[in-house]
Point group: D3
Chain length 190, copies 6
């Protein structure tokens, strides 16, 4: 169901009518997710911006990677928890619950990822994501080596850094514009 409220506090109405390709993409969202995520509605005032965003998002979160889709969502939630981004915590917290089948894991990552009983690989991954979120200027070779020691390849390190970086972007865009998550997320996969 397409949400009727504006997706942010900014007065930026969607292009109307949407280009055919965009409308089709939104229709697929409704079919697969039961909604058009508000972040897409927010960008849809400018189709070039929407396309650039979705291209980067889909590449980072869905393309082949040494990180599973769940792991990428876990990074999303840990970064968003540090930045206290309501939109991203709701949307990606739901994704962690759904992909893991473990609602408690989703809550742990939202509340304090350090309490989650993770294997050393995933803990190292989330520690790195937290570190570059909180103090990227202090990252050194030792931090990268810790990831290699935990079993990650240099390509994986790139992906961790880019996923964590991406949510540092979207957290700020969402908070800066008061983006609100679709209501449907809240009850998903509890």
């Amino acid at each position: 169901m397409v949400d009727e409220h504006p997706p942010t506090a900014l007065d930026l109405p969607m292009v109307d009518p949407l280009p055919e390709a965009t409308q089709k993409y939104f229709d697929i969202c409704v079919e697969k997710l039961g909604m058009v995520p508000n972040v897409l509605r927010a960008y849809a005032f400018d189709i070039d911006k929407l396309d650039a965003f979705t291209a980067m998002y889909n590449n980072l979160m869905l393309a082949p990677s040494g990180l599973s889709k769940l792991e990428r969502e876990m990074i999303a939630v840990v970064v968003s928890a540090i930045n206290r981004c309501f939109y991203c915590l709701v949307a990606h917290g739901a994704a962690v619950r759904a992909l893991s089948g473990d609602p408690k894991l989703g809550e742990m990552l939202v509340m304090n990822y350090r309490v989650a009983p993770l294997d050393p690989r995933q803990r190292a991954m989330l520690d790195f994501a937290a570190r570059i979120t909180e103090s990227s200027a202090a990252v050194s070779e030792a931090d990268r080596q810790a990831l290699r020691d935990a079993g990650f390849s240099d390509r994986d390190i790139w992906d961790i850094a880019n996923v964590a970086g991406f949510f540092n972007m979207t957290n700020r865009v969402a908070s800066a514009t008061a983006m609100r998550p679709n209501d449907d997320y809240h009850a998903q996969a509890r």
Copy 2:
């Protein structure tokens, strides 16, 4: 001149040979900038990632906007100064110097943007960029209204938030991977 050193601390060689379109894009960079910026070389191990990055970068920094290109570069520098990202400060500090014709302005934004003698509009823009970089979770309607009061439209606010957000992403990617700027930037537009 294409720099011969690897652009980051990760072992991720560029696709070789580059696809024709990419090679052409790099050739244009050399022609226009005198170099291929290392950030592009860094992403070129995976052309889909490179394309997603350049599409978003070019849309944000070069597409029509209520913010001038210089203003977008000013945001880039202020965000990167807070995050102390060497790569982005060097590259975008040079851009501010070049676009403004005012090397001192470039240095002020690198060192402490609050000392720069800006008009109220640009000061409000940079204060907002700094605020969402440092404490996005505390942004409220009053912050957005301050931008409107300084003459920005809602579309401009979107652009400020997205440019500032973008460099919060790239700062972290660059620092996480020890990305190093091309040497040519240092002496530009002094």
Copy 3:
């Protein structure tokens, strides 16, 4: 159902058998809540400590006050979110969902209370709770006056300060001992 796992990372078994009054209290918990909250099991290695804790807890959270029970739970969640206390966020997040009948409100307070659409009185209350959690040394008469201006009596201010103070205590006890919440909370009142 009494949880079979130890409630904390410390090896401090409950008094066995429990004194009759304590057993009765725990039985009432099971009857009313469907569980004995792990915080009570954690303190039950020393009945004097358990009794001191429950006396203070029940006075603060359940005794007559100008603050509703929901409002006291809201303070608990906001303080615990700042301190990122998993135990308290789970237990009191569930209480906010249950008492308010508004699961989204519970999530907002867990994730970033500033996004919640609160009336000015409750917002002032939570801002004060946040302020004394983050920088109590800087509190001044102006902060107290802001509460009075929002309609709170001096007695209410005492209660806000004491509830917020209390969770600053329990957050630290819970995190210091790796206290884990009963599993039953997670699905409650979603």
Copy 4:
């Protein structure tokens, strides 16, 4: 001598007359300490609250424990120094001076406990108290193990966490209400 000024900035007069048991308790304070500590006068607008506070206080600070009374006062001062709570620093600084017979130790703990020449056990104890005061969400099993390695039992760890937690509560209550310490403390045990 009972202090004639109100104990806090809130207008919350003591119950008058005090219940017999409370009056007796206050008389004992005067007899033993030469004063009724203002914190007790502050709570005495509601005898249930006063009783809950004194029960917890007396259990934590005076009941048998693997920590000496001085050690519990040392924790009180270190926590209060981090939170810069004037009331608690004055009252418990005096207690450290009196119990230790070492006025300089009292000042060191007020000013910067890291300069005090402590044995490794007490240093570990205070480091843990400082850690849960400043960043409880990051406490891990390694922190608890450091205490065990320094000779503390799990019961002792509970006590350290609870004493440190308690002063994180009282610091906030005192600062939030502008509680002022009795003048008599200042010159004690210098």
Copy 5:
């Protein structure tokens, strides 16, 4: 009495014998203060450094100024409290107690200057000293104007900034070298 312990953790013995002028200066210290402050003994491994330090110190703290000597000592204590410098808090806390005749004022400034009942002029002075200690990069004309509005001349503002700046230097030198204060300070002017 000249203290027999080394004044810092560094092995830097005093010039021996001291030059006549230095010895005379130290003799005057003993006569007037009852001791040679350890900071002077610390610098006396190099008489040029000692002379440069005392010249600046005496100019800042003793030369004619729109700030009274007490006010300069108050700044010293507030800055040192923020930096938690044991040496400077002990030495200058004693000076505040002695010059003000108000031991409680000395303690308030050591513990949390915001609780001290100061007139608006002195409060503005200490707020500025605190601000440049904690976040000098954010100081703006509004901060200077607040001092002017409180009755300070531009010359006074210079003095406040320089006294506050000076203790930001000495706090770091003292803490970096584990400088310890003479024992005589502790009991002075209580």
Copy 6:
């Protein structure tokens, strides 16, 4: 060339005419540096203050030391970068560029010293300078030992602490007074 603008935001004109010795000193500055640094013009409203400042400055930065002049300038820049002091970054950034003949080193220290390819001795020196700038109260013997292990004598440690301390003073004086650097620095040694 003597700059014609006032050196700070304070209305504190230079003594006029300058005493002969001061005029001579300024003439030497013009001869050697091509300018009178604005910091000297700022202090010249009071010759005693100017003399105390220059005596300490010259002793710290120019007198014989185990630290080279370049190393002392490197400390100046790293401290000033943490404090984001525009005046000191411009003036001492230029000095690092000039003394090292390596403009890129100057920029690295201004932007994020951790990215500079330093030998372990200089890295240890700068880490210590950064540490006492950011958290001097936490310095311990281990920090001093790390410097000794890197090859520094106790006398060198004194010098590192004092140079770092000094710029923590001047950074605050410069920012508090809006001191502006001479324009000539910007283009020097690029």
